[in-house]
Symmetry: C2
Amino acid sequence: MDVAPAGTVAEPGITPDELRLAARNHATPLEALRHEITPPGLHYLLIHYDIPAVEPEGFQLEIGGAVERRMTLTLDALKERERVAQPITFECAGNGRALLEPRPVSQPWLTEAVGTAEWGGTPLAPLLAEAGPSGDAIELLFSAVDRGVEGGVPQAYERALPIGEAAQALLVYEMNGGPLPPQHGFPLRLVVPGWYGMQNVKWLTRITVLEEPFSGYQNAVSYRMYSADGEPGEAVTRMLPRSLMIPPGVPDFLTRVRQLQPGPVTLRGRAWSGHGSIERIEVSTDGGASFSEAGLEPPLGPNAWRGWSFDWEAAPGEHVLSPRATDSAGNTQPLDPRWNLKGFANNAVQRVAVMVAP
Amino acid sequence: MDVAPAGTVAEPGITPDELRLAARNHATPLEALRHEITPPGLHYLLIHYDIPAVEPEGFQLEIGGAVERRMTLTLDALKERERVAQPITFECAGNGRALLEPRPVSQPWLTEAVGTAEWGGTPLAPLLAEAGPSGDAIELLFSAVDRGVEGGVPQAYERALPIGEAAQALLVYEMNGGPLPPQHGFPLRLVVPGWYGMQNVKWLTRITVLEEPFSGYQNAVSYRMYSADGEPGEAVTRMLPRSLMIPPGVPDFLTRVRQLQPGPVTLRGRAWSGHGSIERIEVSTDGGASFSEAGLEPPLGPNAWRGWSFDWEAAPGEHVLSPRATDSAGNTQPLDPRWNLKGFANNAVQRVAVMVAP
């Protein structure tokens, strides 16, 4: 494939290209973390090309490739199958990109490209079993309707997933109890619990069982961790642990620095990981110099973020607040970002600047 | 009032302050202009401080100030009054700010901070008549729940409106047939047809009838057109005419430049004005050097945008497409922006870059 360089880095100021992306895509405002299920319209959005207009009447999902029985399913046929709905948290793989130095040029996310919805649909595994994948099948390719050009390559959005990772995947037609909104993949999308968002293919129209690894752009070029251009890179897969805090007090409009009164304040937030359950949250109120244990709320579900709280005595002056998550696989958030050329999987701890009045 | 300078301008690259605002607030993706009513979650959002959590049970709207009868209304009491719903288009006053040179520092909007919803609620005028404004009343002050610091001034969001402009105003509790989403002002907001969005106060809790002009931040400092710092400035009020096109073809992910095949293509878009109905749309396919007449769709309503279409024969090469709106008051969009210190009301024509294949 003759493609552009895997990534580029930018001068300090955000560029017009990045601004155009930031105007379209949006994060979940941090105060919306108060909701355990993100309300419609507040869930983060990253759309590679345009939101396509898909008519549900003529819609069909095709399942083909290395299978015994090719299948074609209407939306009604999918809705007649077993229905499950569960809260699932996912995050954009590029979350945190704009905090890296030097800054990789793409959607300039800060820390809050995450959301949790009640995703409803039908499990993929039984459908796949009916189609009968060949014994040599190694990947499932999920192909979407939306088209564009990326890295010089005209393409429809397509992402392959190792077939062993598909056990929990859902073919989703509902979000928070209603039909999928257009921007979240109407009429059908994939959701793979635990993975970064690029795997949750929106406007899904075809599943192809592959016996060879997919060499298309989104797997072979785009979603990879490169330490430098020209390297093979490492695939972006499951979410690293991360925690976010609802910023206390009130914001300054322009700087977003928080202003609050001295005295006791309960800090709250949510944390998630694609490698296991959240086992521990610590909070630093001194910019990461020291951390103290926070309290954990009961789990919301096996694939959703977990609430936490921490009682803080706010003393006059400037402070930087940081929560730090550790998951059951033993992964802990780093204090400093791990740089890579395309700016993926930066799960360094959040830093919330607060100014406590005298 | 001891406040910061009215505005500042920035170096070419977008600053971290602007990026934090761009990550929170979002425009309507241009392809969503295909919908005459903007679907939930796609309508633009500009939130000065944080989205507040308002419990509808204890909610009350107070009407006071220079009135004969102070009133207090629950949400249920408001819902028992006359209900009207209509499509209303509004746009952020700062739309187009980031295209100005030098660029005023605030939310860095490009061109698409606009949306049209079916806003449902009860008319303000009969309520106001019941309260009985004094004969010297000149303004209505609308006060909201959300709090923050802006230009150095701690404040709840408040905006005054000349009392003569209130005739068409709605107290809104529904958006597109459902309850207001939290981010659009749940449980109650103001919508004043024809005005820029800053007047459509979200999380409304109090209306105060004033006999003197309001001297608070959002009227006296913020939403004013200044040619330089230290001047009194001119109030931002009704929307100037503007038209936006649904970009044809498919986008490049990073640059958003459109790629399409040669041949006939129907360009479509929508246009609006707060000074009258849209009477004329012209389209330029040569970067504004020449314009040709577009066809107008039937009006959607007196306060909503109007659809238009234009048949274009796309020839190989690079082109810049620009629609230009003229309203019934004779206002026409300029080709170049009119600069002001805080970057308001830039209604210069949109420029859509397209590359037609050989």
